[in-house]
Symmetry: C2
Subunit: 224 residues, 2 copies
Amino acid sequence: MSSALVGIAPVDRKETLGVLVREKLRSALMAGRFQPGEKLTIRAVASALDVSLTPAREALYNLVAEGILDSGPNGTVFVPQMDEERIVELSKIRITLEGLAAREAVPNLTDADIAAIAAIHAELAEADHTKDFPALMQLNWQFHFGIYDAANMPTLKRIIESCWLKMGSYINVIYPKYGEIGQGIELHGRVLEALARRDADALCAAIRADIEQSTSCLIAMSRG
Amino acid sequence: MSSALVGIAPVDRKETLGVLVREKLRSALMAGRFQPGEKLTIRAVASALDVSLTPAREALYNLVAEGILDSGPNGTVFVPQMDEERIVELSKIRITLEGLAAREAVPNLTDADIAAIAAIHAELAEADHTKDFPALMQLNWQFHFGIYDAANMPTLKRIIESCWLKMGSYINVIYPKYGEIGQGIELHGRVLEALARRDADALCAAIRADIEQSTSCLIAMSRG
DNA sequence: CCAGATTATCTGTTATAACGAATATTGTTG
DNA sequence: CAACAATATTCGTTATAACAGATAATCTGG
């Protein structure tokens, strides 16, 4: 084999229909296009995405296995209802897990990494001004996972992503109002500060504050 | 409806073939009946359990979605190889998550709960003497999850179970030798002690020590 | 006897059909 | 008009067949 061809391997990666559907559902979930409690039938998903029952079923049940969708009595699948207990529990899990990721990331973060994260923060502030909520959510994702990526812990990252999706299905329903409070940006400032000082404890505290704030906002909304 | 019939609802809970197969694979994994790296074909699973491809595929891919099995290039599914990085990462995740569960459990644990856990510990010591490794593993599971259950955090519990399964596929390959070291029992003693004093910090420390010990044992085995 | 090409087999993917259970609809009756 | 029964429809489950790509086996030519 020519050495020039080394490392360009992934030529043939046509995704399976099942994962395609799953990813579609994932982003639809993150975009808040489903209402909490909404029932998702296999046939509806299949015909909406113009595939047969098989990949639709696979996608739906994979999300159930991940805990992102809930499964009801007779094999019915629906997007989880948002109740306070669940929100609080997920918040605690996220604080623990994202704290770990941040802590492990600190020694690995290069100056370039931090600069990139700061750049995302700048974009984020811009999107905050223009009230571009879809961009805001995506940039927020990039901001946080830009840090967690540096931990080099793929399994941990997957679990955290899963937690985000579990909250994400209704965090979006609420985001406009959450955005108007506008404290998220300030907390991100604290994150950047801790990052610059490579202060793991401060970083954890800042991330915890960020999670707790969005959680309390979510709880307030769930009450009425 | 007669009031005498209230609460006896779950009459009809015939599981689906898919979850049946998945559970079969789960316990086979926990029992260490598969070798790390072994390839699991859909048709092999299907014919072994005498079902069609559909439920076999569903079970396999649900386990992949949970991160318990790995998926290769062409949709192939295999049991994850044990490498040191993965072991260390899972160990860190477990320490964090099980620490959280233990901490949350402490205020909820009744005296009866603690007595039950102590009873399991007694059985565990018995199984340790008689070198009954299958029983030992099951009792170890009951011991730990007897604590975590009290946290009343279903999502957290599921994630921890998932982590156990991810390690479990090869922790069992090693258990006999691990059992001969016989320190696990002493560490469980520390857990019980902390439990009796309702000392959350000590409990976390004891659980951490337990995890770290089995991890270091696992690492030692993976090297030679 | 070995290398390369061809064939056969294996494996994952996907659509479809058939079955049964659950739900919704309609029709009927008091 | 209301309540019950019968029917129709929807839905999840599962097996099967057909297809394509990958792998293994066989065969042929040197």
